[in-house]
């Protein structure tokens, strides 16, 4: 097996927050099945907080574990706080990722950010931390 940490294995085998939120307040989709991984994040916002986060992921063990970890890290956070989640924080929470799987942790953070952006766009609001990066940057960042 890939040399995954126990934490990755746990989050892969028993993923948290899998699924779709039917009436999501924001949806973010990143990746591409051609490249191997694709993630869709759904968020439900209450007040300024992420009341619920769910995901669907097509991809490897790391991609699933990352999605699961990001969703768990995000739930309960304010939107501003959620936007501070970085790929390296995700990797660290997962007790490390194999080198050639780093890009999965990027994808997770990107998908969440995209869902928040979707929410912001729909609401026509500005959120601190969101304007700093263009969408294109997000797709490409650190990968």
């Amino acid at each position: 097996m890939p040399v995954y940490s126990e934490k990755v294995m746990e989050y892969f085998m028993n993923p948290r927050n899998v699924g779709e939120i039917k009436d999501a307040d924001g949806i973010g989709e990143v990746g591409n099945p051609v490249c191997g991984d694709m993630m869709t994040f759904y968020i439900k916002v209450k007040g300024n907080r992420l009341e619920d986060v769910k995901f669907q992921t097509f991809g490897c063990g790391a991609a699933i574990a990352v999605s699961s970890m990001v969703s768990e890290m995000a739930i309960g956070k304010t939107l501003e706080e959620a936007l501070t989640i970085t790929p390296s924080m995700v990797a660290q929470e997962l007790e490390g990722l194999p080198k050639n799987k780093f890009h999965c942790s990027n994808l997770g953070a990107q998908a969440l950010r995209k869902a928040i952006r979707d929410y912001a766009n729909k609401k026509g609001i500005k959120i601190k931390g969101l304007e700093e990066k263009g969408e294109e940057d997000e797709e490409g960042e650190e990968s």
Binding site: P2, V18, G36, D37, F58, G59, C60, G61, N100
Partner: protein, 393 residues
């Protein structure tokens, strides 16, 4: 938990009979075959016997066998060694699009060094058209290499037909028979080839053992320089135990081939049936009938291979995948892509290599365990969700 090893395409276990004959050469019979004393004699004699056993398996002559340390080494030696020896005559090489990287990348290395390379396509089953090969032969073509059986999709190529088609051109013809030798009948004369690669760990012999058969009289530029071992074609102290084990595995493969083939193709058919009937949107890859008897390969749509491997492993089941995520380079199998399978579907590659240790219970176990794994991953998959919306909702 039940343990079911179905990754015999990656490597087989060694048969105990082969281990037994190796043990003395690991311990008490430790001489160097090149040494001029009785310790050396014993080692040399053991190698001579193995050379006969391996030659017999493929209907070649013992002096035509060059022992190597792996199948990959045999392929590199064949491609680079034959092409370089023929370079005076021309610089054009032909290989198929589904060759193993030890052939394909060796050919690419030659390309960088000034050779010209034609890569002939395959059809959706992974088959190379003999006419397509013949058509591409030019005045300056010196070498054709078309594999005998593909390790990823199990397809058996029409090597004998290609051999016939190109015979009169005098172009050298190599076949990578690493996935086939010891598993199905391989006869260098019947195939009409000039060189053939094989590897012990594909037919219950030891790791670290391989061989290149090269037709008598053919020049070959060695990959490595050094001593006079293997007739000057492959230097370095011989790995006596591995060679002895390879010889024994060859003998056993020859002896047991019909019964192994019968048993394995029966189990394989059961596995293929079981998977195709219990899992929707599963696709058999490779040729439906012209395939290795122990080989069953699929693409399971909407999900990814590594994730399946991990969940199967958690149930004690070992298989392989050609998905991008399972490769170091994160690229989907060039074999599946060459067969026209989309990158998206190639991601769901799953590959079963059955072995002589498997039984019906193993197959039942897989057919029981795989469908819920597929369901679990599909429940997570945005592709599956989208598909369901489009087609059912």
């Amino acid at each position: 938990m039940r343990k079911v090893y179905l990754d015999n395409v990656a490597t087989t276990p060694i048969l105990l009979e082969a281990v037994e004959v190796m043990l003395p050469y690991l311990r008490e019979v430790y001489g160097n075959p090149q040494s001029l004393h009785s310790w050396g004699d014993e080692a040399r004699e053991a190698i001579d016997i193995a050379r006969e056993q391996v030659a017999a398996l493929i209907a070649g002559n013992p002096e035509e066998i060059v022992f190597t340390s792996s199948g990959s080494e045999a392929n590199n030696l064949a491609i680079k060694g034959l092409a370089q020896a023929q370079a005076g005559k021309g610089k054009h090489i032909i290989v198929s699009a589904v060759e193993h990287f030890s052939v394909l990348h060796a050919a690419r290395t030659l390309e960088k060094a000034g050779f010209e390379l034609t890569i002939v396509p395959v059809d959706k089953y992974g088959l190379t058209d003999p006419d397509e090969v013949a058509k591409n032969i030019r005045k300056d073509t010196i070498l054709v290499s078309i594999m005998h059986a593909n390790g990823e999709v199990g397809t058996i190529q029409p090597v004998a037909e290609i051999g016939m088609k190109i015979k009169e051109t005098g172009v050298l013809f190599h076949t990578d028979a690493i996935a086939s030798t010891g598993n199905i009948g391989v006869d260098v004369k019947g195939l009409g080839v000039d060189a053939l690669s094989l590897a012990g760990n594909q037919f219950y012999g030891p790791k670290g053992s391989g061989a290149l058969w090269v037709r008598k009289g053919l020049r070959l530029i060695p990959l490595m320089d050094g001593g006079v071992q293997e007739g000057g074609r492959r230097p370095g102290t011989e790995n006596v135990p591995a060679i002895v084990g390879l010889g024994k595995a060859a003998e056993l493969a020859q002896r047991d081939m019909p019964s192994r083939m019968e048993k394995l193709s029966h189990l394989r058919d059961k596995l293929i049936d079981g998977i195709l009937t219990t899992i929707d949107h599963a696709l058999l890859t490779g040729h439906p009938s012209q395939r290795l008897p122990h080989h069953a390969s699929f693409c399971i749509e909407f999900i990814e291979g590594e994730a399946m491997l991990m969940l199967l492993n958690s149930q004690g089941i070992a298989v392989s995948s050609g998905s991008a995520c399972t490769s170091q380079a994160l690229k989907a199998s060039h074999v599946l892509i060459a067969m026209g399978i989309s990158h998206e579907i190639a991601q769901g590659s799953l590959l079963f290599g059955l072995g002589v240790d498997n039984n019906e219970g193993d197959i039942d176990y897989v057919i029981e365990k795989l469908p819920p794994i597929v369901s679990k991953l599909r429940q997570m998959s945005p592709l599956y969700a989208r598909f369901m919306k489009e087609h059912r909702g």
